[in-house]
Each structure stands twice: as C-alpha cells, then as structure tokens.
Symmetry: C2
C-alpha cells in the first residue's frame, strides 16, 4: 500500500493489518464486540450519527464516526473511499479513548469493515430468527456473505447452511471454504428456490439491484436479512417481502433516514421499523409468533467498527 518506499515505517502506535486481524480472529469475539455496541445503543451511550461524505475527485471519502461512552469507552471512525479497488486501497479504523481522547491505534485494511457487518448480522439473526431455527440459507458468495454466515453460526447453532449464487464455481468454492470455518455443513445448491423455501433464516448478500428470489418461495416463520442494495429503485429483495414482514428492524434509523434516495421500507413500513437495539431490550418489538416473517435491513450502525477495532487493538496490547 502507498507509494514504493526505501524505508520501513515503524510507528509508535499500534497499526493492525488484515493479516493481524485474521491472526487473532474468531466470529464469537466479533459477535460479542458488536453485541457490546448494541447494548450501549440500547442504554443510550452509543453516539452514532449517519455517515458523512466528501467529494474527493473520482469518488467520495465516506466517514462513519461514533463513540461508545459506556463500559466500552471507545471513540473513533472508519473511513473508506468509493473510487475503486486494488492492492493499494485501504480502509482505516481509528480508535480513541472516549474519556480522555488518547489515541489508541489504527486498523487498516478491508477485513474489519466486513467483519463488523457480519457481526451486526449475527446479532440480528440471534434476536429475530425463531428459537428453533435450524437451516441458514445464503444468496451471494462474496466477502460480505462469508462474514454473515460466520457470524450467524457463532450467534446461533444452525444444523445446516445452504448457499446459492448464479456461478457454479463461486458457490462451490464458497461452500468448500466455509465448511472448514464453521460447525454446520455447508452445501452449494444450483437452484435458489430450495435455499429460500427451506431456510429458517435467509441472508441476502448480493450486489443485485433486482430481486434475487420469488417472494412466493418464502415460508412462514422465516427471518430475512438484506445486506445488498436496499432502495425503492434498486433492491436485491422483492418489495413484497417488506410489506409481508410482520416485524422490520434495522441497526440505525438515523442512517435509514439519511439516505438521499427512497429506502426500501418507506411510508407505513418505515413507520413500523424498529432499531435492533430496541429489539434486544424488548423482544416484543421483534418476532411475536413462530410464523412471523421478520426482516432485518442492515445499514451500518456508526460506532460498531470502533468498538470492534478496540477489541482487536486490545489483543495486541
């Protein structure tokens, strides 16, 4: 990363890389860190404004900043750019002591952003899926899908994971890799319908701007999480699922309301949407019946990266 340099840069503060993160990493700890952040959200001690962005040439710089001022005592931010990808690109998560302002270090790379989104998904599935949920279905095979499955299986004991994506090699290689990382067997399927209809919890983590399944395939009692495009004019989920859902939760209502295009849950659906933190405090805000369809719209609660970054930095202290 960065321009070629004749010297190594040795810092007097911790800077973790993706390699560091993966070397000290398990999904149980990721989910625990994110749960801490939601506990602070419920207690009113998580400062989590919507993202801020700046025009920065051919793309934007996007800042998600926040602070957990309760027991976690972490302030900071994550910054990423929207220009493109490559080996010389990185995201940064910076962590400060929320009480004193002391700088605690950086986590550079792409791992932490996806892991915290995975952790949020794990907490959401644990809060919203039926207590007897056995089968986890996944549509999508990218890095986000992988972190969602890893964290979901750390948060809940599933018996089986099934995955579909249109490209055979992608879904097979995804299943093969995941199989070594998590407890339940992971099976690639060449048809999305059984993945959706047999799932007790379904994660959509695609880049598709058109619905990736038929709403008729969904069976009563299923929990659905959407990570990919989630706007009225671009959505991986059939819009019918939003209307049909008995409970709709998100990690951050301020972020939902801050988008500059119409969100997938609008009007009455937006009105009945609740924060995941509220569901954790009062489960009646979420699933009420075994046959309920529950929906989680993941938007990226600010402060969650900072809490997770602090936990990784602590492991290197």
């Amino acid at each position: 990363m960065g321009p070629p340099s004749d010297r190594a840069f040795v810092t007097d503060f911790p800077v973790l890389t993706d390699a560091d993160v993966y070397s000290k990493f398990d999904y149980e700890r990721v989910v625990a860190a994110i749960r801490d952040a939601f506990t602070e959200r419920a207690a009113g001690t998580l400062e989590a404004p919507p993202r801020w962005h700046v025009d920065a040439g051919e793309g934007n710089l996007v800042f998600t900043a926040g602070a957990a001022t309760g027991p976690t005592n972490a302030a900071g931010f994550r910054v990423y750019e929207t220009h493109g990808t490559g080996d010389d690109h990185t995201e940064l998560v910076a962590v400060f002591d929320a009480a004193t302002g002391a700088f605690e270090g950086l986590v550079a790379g792409h791992a932490i952003g996806g892991l915290r989104t995975g952790g949020i998904g794990g907490v959401a599935i644990d809060a919203l899926a039926r207590s007897d949920a056995d089968t986890l279905g996944v549509l999508g095979t990218g890095f986000q899908a992988r972190a969602q499955v890893g964290a979901a299986c750390a948060a809940r004991a599933f018996d089986a994971v099934t995955v579909y994506s249109p490209t055979r090699e992608s879904r097979e290689s995804f299943a093969e890799t995941l199989d070594t990382e998590i407890e339940p067997p992971v099976r690639a399927v060449d048809d999305p319908e059984p993945v959706v209809s047999e799932a007790d919890a379904l994660v959509c983590a695609t880049n598709s701007e058109d619905p990736v399944f038929d709403p008729g395939w969904l069976t009563p009692g299923t929990h659905v999480t959407t990570i990919g495009p989630r706007f009225q004019d671009a959505h991986e989920l059939p819009l019918e699922v939003v209307d049909r859902a008995d409970a709709i939760a998100t990690d951050s209502l301020p972020q939902v309301d801050a988008y500059d295009r119409p969100y997938i849950a609008s009007g009455a659906d937006r009105e009945r949407m609740v924060e995941l933190a509220a569901v954790l405090e009062n489960p009646d805000c979420g699933r009420q019946h075994v046959d309920d369809i529950t929906l989680f719209c993941s938007v990226g609660l600010a402060g969650t990266e900072v809490v997770l970054g602090k936990r990784f930095l602590e492991r290197f202290a």
Copy 2:
C-alpha cells in the same frame, strides 16, 4: 502513543511522525504547498466543505476533509479531538490519490496542523500586506505564533520581527528560538503598543477572548491577521478593527458561515469579506491603497492539510 505494546508495528504504508516532518521541513516548501492549494481553490478544483464533528465522549472528533483534484491530485482529511492534550494524543492526516482512491499514507502528530495554518498565514500576508512592508509584529508566543512568523518570513522579506506576550520568559524564549530559524532579527518587547504601532504586518495568535491591543495603536497601511478567538462574544482582536478594515479576507467563506456562534465579521462586514483565493486571482479584491488596513481571518481551509501532507509524503517516497 497508544497503549504499551510488546511489538513494534511496521506498516506497509508510510506513516510520518512529528520527527519526520521536522527532519524534512522548511517554511518555503510549506508556503509553496499551501499556495498550490489556494491556486486550486481559485481554479475551482479544491473541494473544501466546512468541518464536521461528532460527539465522542468527553470531547469531539473533528474532521476537516477535502480534495485538490487539479495538478495536486490529493484527497484526504485531518482528524483531531478536543478532549485534551498529552503525549498519548495525536492528530492524523490521511492522504489518498484523488483520481484512483489509492491510499498514500498518514502523517501523525501535531506539527502538520500548525504548519499548514502558518502556511495559510504566509500566503495571506504576501497577498495583503503592503509591498514595502518591513516590520512584522506578533502578539502571542505559542506554536501557532511560531509557525505564522516562520511562514510569513518565507513568503516575504521582512527586516525585523517584534514579539509581545504578557509573560517575559515566553516572549524572550520565543525571540531566541525564532532568531535561529529565520532571517530577520527577532526582538521581544515588554509593551504591546510599539509592536502594534510599528508593524506593517501584525499577527495575532493568542488564546485571548478579549482584545489584546487598543485599536488606536494601529497605523494606516497595516495588515492584520487573526488566528485566535474570532467570534462576536470572544475575540482577540478589537471589533473596531473589523469595521475599520478596508478589505477583509478569509481562507474559507463556507467555514465562516458554518460556525454555530456569531462570527467576528457579521452583517455588512461579512458581506464584503472575500476569499484569499479570490485575492490571489484578482488583487483588487484585497489591498487597493498603501494606507489601507487589511484584515485576514484564518479559519482553516479544508484540503490544505491534505496538500501539505502529500508534499511531506513525497519527500519520503
């Protein structure tokens, strides 16, 4: 900085410290970098929104982000916290390629923030002081005052520098240190009046919320820069100077308008305020007569830290 650690952190991207910055540093280059930023501002290629801040426990995190998308090709931000000071505190400047988004590195520490404010002051004095300005006067002896004098003397050939602050040791040690760093002799004076009345260019760089000189001391033709408190209810400058000034410039009008308390130049004075970039393009916006009083209100143009940070990183590439 950061928690004690058993290991050194070696990064795969450049991270410069205050020691690095000072080892490769001269005020001519600082002023040249800041001049590049203002040239881009005048050309319409400097993206420079007002600062953004987030409540972060006992203080705020403050972000100044921007991009120079012309010849400089730099995007990025500076972040600092308002909790307090100490060895374990730092500011961060992050630099990205504005065209590709590639990450180019970090400058950590406090040096770069003050140097860019000094550089802005140097460009302002060069643009607004009389062409025959000989004497530079300074009220204040902190780090900001030092960078202002260093940059002013790199931007213009002054014959003499005089400094006043209420504490004898502070002003004498300031004069002694500066004397070794800049060309013209630096003299500490035990009375602010001659510093003000004999100055062709006067820099106020104090923390005072009450005026630090009598407006009657100011003589026609003087340029005045204010770096310290600059609000209607807290100002190091006598308010009369704002009214009396024939031209008022600032580095960023959007930042002036973004403060959540009334700025020192309000009403008609705010209306006639111009950007320093406009003065550089069209000198008629600034000083028109040798007897004019000119005023520069330094607020911190976004993007300037990023341009300066890029120049420092280039020297280590």
